[in-house]
Amino acid sequence: MNNMLSRVANCLYWMSRYIERAENIARMVDVNLQLLLDYRDLNDESLLDHWMPVVQSNGEEEAFLRLHKKATGRTVTEFLVFQLENPNSIVSSIVQARENARMVRDQITMEYWEELNRLYLFVRSPEARKVWRQSPSEFFQQIKEASLHLVGIGYATILHNEGWWFSQAGKFIERADKTSRILDVRYESLPERGVPKSVSQTEALGWQAILRSCSAWDAYKSLHGAEVHPRLVADFLLFNEDFPRSARFCVGELNAALRHISGVPSGRFCNDAEKLAGRLEAELQFSTVDEIFEQGLHGYLDQFQTRLNNVGNALFDAYIFQEFSNEGAEMMIQQEEQQQQRKEAS
């Protein structure tokens, strides 16, 4: 039984991560487009107010401004959906997911590969633009569906071995990150600290859209009824134990994946990735939403994203990037030269 190549583990991690990224960007852009349908009296100013946070929430402001002068619905969606110059656009993410999959074609199943390749061929075809023009919602639906199919196909056909757990780690780190970014989209409407007292009808629609974009609306309603309040929305998306897109759930799965890779039980750790992920999970388990609002939701989410990043980096250091002494390439060149000189002399 061979161990897993570090590069292969890395490819599997990024393959899943990019698929999850494409799905979540589709969710995010979709919900924002739908939101606009609910607003009246839109002027350029308010449109800008609306779209710039979406770009900012992906941490892409600089790249965006390099490519576009103004944040309008058209430029932002083009940037987030199709533009290959944006390494994190939906199409870029799918291209990279597929490129990673191509490099580990022997680790995934035919079914998985064909579905991912189908998605790739679709987004690279003129057909994709056509669907997009006719109905952006339908387009995002197709992206989400393909990603969810891949989750199912992977679960049901791919060996749940070490490589699988690397891909799970990638998926859940990305999902946790994106859920937190989606939750952050309306932060400008919140007071800097503390829970908002009352929420306007329009605001409520905004928070409902956030839930919808995480496929959380039905689950939320069953817990809290149709009353939408930022406090409850944040509580649900951050701390719900059972909802598969909540931060707590995702970090729990991430932590479990790391422990499957190393075999170290929870409560202990053998590398920084496990230490950081374990701490983060514990904090999510033992925090309340009121504390978070007291500290300020936006700041909290920002920190949360940084900490996820740190887990990702620690994972890379522990398993992927290992410095091995190379016995000095210099020395080998010398030996080889001597060999050749001897040969020529003989």
Partner: protein, 479 residues
């Protein structure tokens, strides 16, 4: 659907000169006749779509789009009767045996040179002659483990060897995938007609790789070394690794310490014993060959010399691919085996022989000129189809560097009925590349890759230049 077919005076694989279907095509022909035009069209479309969906594609260098293309596949199979195949098999085994003996000889005693059979100048001036491997013993004395020999048939239907590809021949994955596609499209034909299977290839390849493992390693770790996902044959690399159940690695996955090769895994370093490398010699090890190679592994050659790792194919086989060396293969067969060559070469002129050079320069518009160390249809002049400017360009090149050029008469390659559009089938020129594996014994998967020049009148079958492929059927019998 073949009623309007015109064989135009070329040797046609399926029809004889009177327009009658040859015996070994009769069963297929009869079944094919019952196929309706739309049924054929449906099958054709679904095969193309399946190739695209499965990502059975290749990259074209210099294509800025960076998009992969499918290798066009023609649904009409090329059929070879048993008698013909067995003749080819004998000829190919004879040839590869002689080539391996030749490589062993020129890297050791060089008897063939000393006995005056091949002038020393030609060997020593070979671009791919690796003098640094003189007196190095390769495992089991096998140099070429995997060979893809290109065969063509001329106007009289006789098979000839066009070139031996003894470095990293590619294309075998298409043989296997073409067969799968044909089985999906015509599930009932195979058993009825009696077609020999090809899917044992990965198992044979793996057996060979195990056979050449360094002595004393009971369970060798075997890997396939690829230049990476940007390589035109990357699909094939992952495909073969997957079929054999071995790891596919890139240079950066390997590390050499203490003259041993290891791969970097999530649990640390793991020893590697056999490398099926799909990287040319030049790029294998930047400390020995090209220092600018980012694909190779520093120290790999050192580990190879120490006998801790085996390579397939061995380093230094490129000299046998030199088109000047090709000229001498019939002599090698006589010299090493004391036999007459079973498969003939295409008549060849060496530009560095004065009388040949004179002939070549006087007859350029009639000849095909090839650079000695190019492949893939590059560096070639097709005299009869070339412009005066191209001919003059090659004239200068030949005069400047005669060692590097050979010339051959233009061969009217045999043709095969090929789908052109809707219900139109026309003859297109084809060749055949069988894949030979040399391990404990020499095995050849029945048939090989039939490449077809899809452009009307074209003689260039390379995938980079508008070529496609066909499934190749070797029958159990002769009809």
């Amino acid at each position: 659907m073949l009623r309007k077919y015109n064989h135009d005076g070329f040797f046609d694989e399926m029809m004889d000169a009177e327009g009658e279907i040859r015996p070994h095509y009769r069963q297929f022909g009869a079944l094919f006749e019952t196929l309706k035009r739309d049924e054929f069209e449906d099958k054709r479309r679904s095969v193309d779509l399946a190739f695209l969906r499965q990502g059975i594609t290749f990259n074209v260098y210099g294509d800025s789009q960076g998009m992969e293309r499918i290798f066009p596949f023609d649904l009409i199979p090329r059929i070879i009767p048993a008698r013909e195949w067995e003749h080819l098999e004998r000829g190919l085994v004879q040839r590869i045996t002689a080539l391996n003996l030749f490589l062993r000889d020129i890297y050791h005693d060089q008897k063939i040179v000393k006995d005056g059979v091949i002038p020393p100048f030609y060997v020593l001036s070979g671009k791919h002659f690796r003098r640094e491997f003189a007196n190095f013993n390769v495992p089991k004395d096998i140099y070429i483990h995997v060979c893809g020999t290109d065969l063509i048939r001329g106007a009289d239907g006789a098979y000839m060897v066009l070139e031996d590809n003894g470095r990293c021949p590619s294309g075998v994955s298409y043989v296997l995938e073409n067969r799968r596609a044909m089985k999906r499209s015509f599930p009932d034909l195979f058993e009825r007609i009696g077609v020999r299977p090809v899917d044992q290839y990965p198992a044979e390849l793996l057996k060979m790789l195990q056979y050449i493992a360094p002595a004393g390693v009971p369970n060798p770790t075997i890997v396939l070394l690829t230049p990476g996902a940007a390589n035109s044959a990357y699909f094939e690399h992952t495909y073969l690794a997957r079929q054999m159940g071995i790891e596919i690695v890139e240079g950066r996955d390997l590390v050499v310490t203490d003259s041993r090769v290891y791969m970097r895994t999530t649990k640390g370093l793991q020893a590697v014993h056999v490398i099926y490398r799909r990287i040319d010699d030049d790029f294998l090890d930047p400390t020995v060959f090209r220092a600018d190679s980012m694909l190779g592994v520093p120290g790999l050659v050192h580990a190879y010399r120490a006998g801790h790792v085996s390579l397939a194919n061995s380093i230094g086989t490129g000299i046998a691919d030199d088109k000047v060396m090709y000229y001498f293969v019939p002599r090698m067969i006589k010299y090493y085996l004391g036999e007459e060559p079973i498969l003939a070469n295409v008549p060849t002129y060496l530009a560095s022989e004065e009388s040949d050079k004179k002939y070549i320069l006087e007859n350029l518009p009639k000849l095909v000129v090839k650079a000695a160390n190019e492949s893939g249809g590059y560096g070639m002049l097709m005299g009869p189809k070339a412009s005066a400017k191209e001919i003059e360009f090659f004239r200068e090149r030949i005069q400047a560097d005669p060692r590097n050029y050979i010339a051959q008469p233009m061969i009217a390659l045999s043709r095969h009925p090929t789908h052109v559009e809707s219900d139109l089938f026309e003859g297109r020129h084809i060749d055949l590349r069988p894949y030979i594996i040399c391990g404990e014994k020499t095995t050849i998967v029945p048939g090989g890759l039939t490449r077809v020049a899809l452009r009307a009148g074209s003689l260039v079958v390379n995938s980079s230049q508008g070529g496609g492929s066909k499934d190749t059927w070797v029958l159990y019998g002769d009809e």
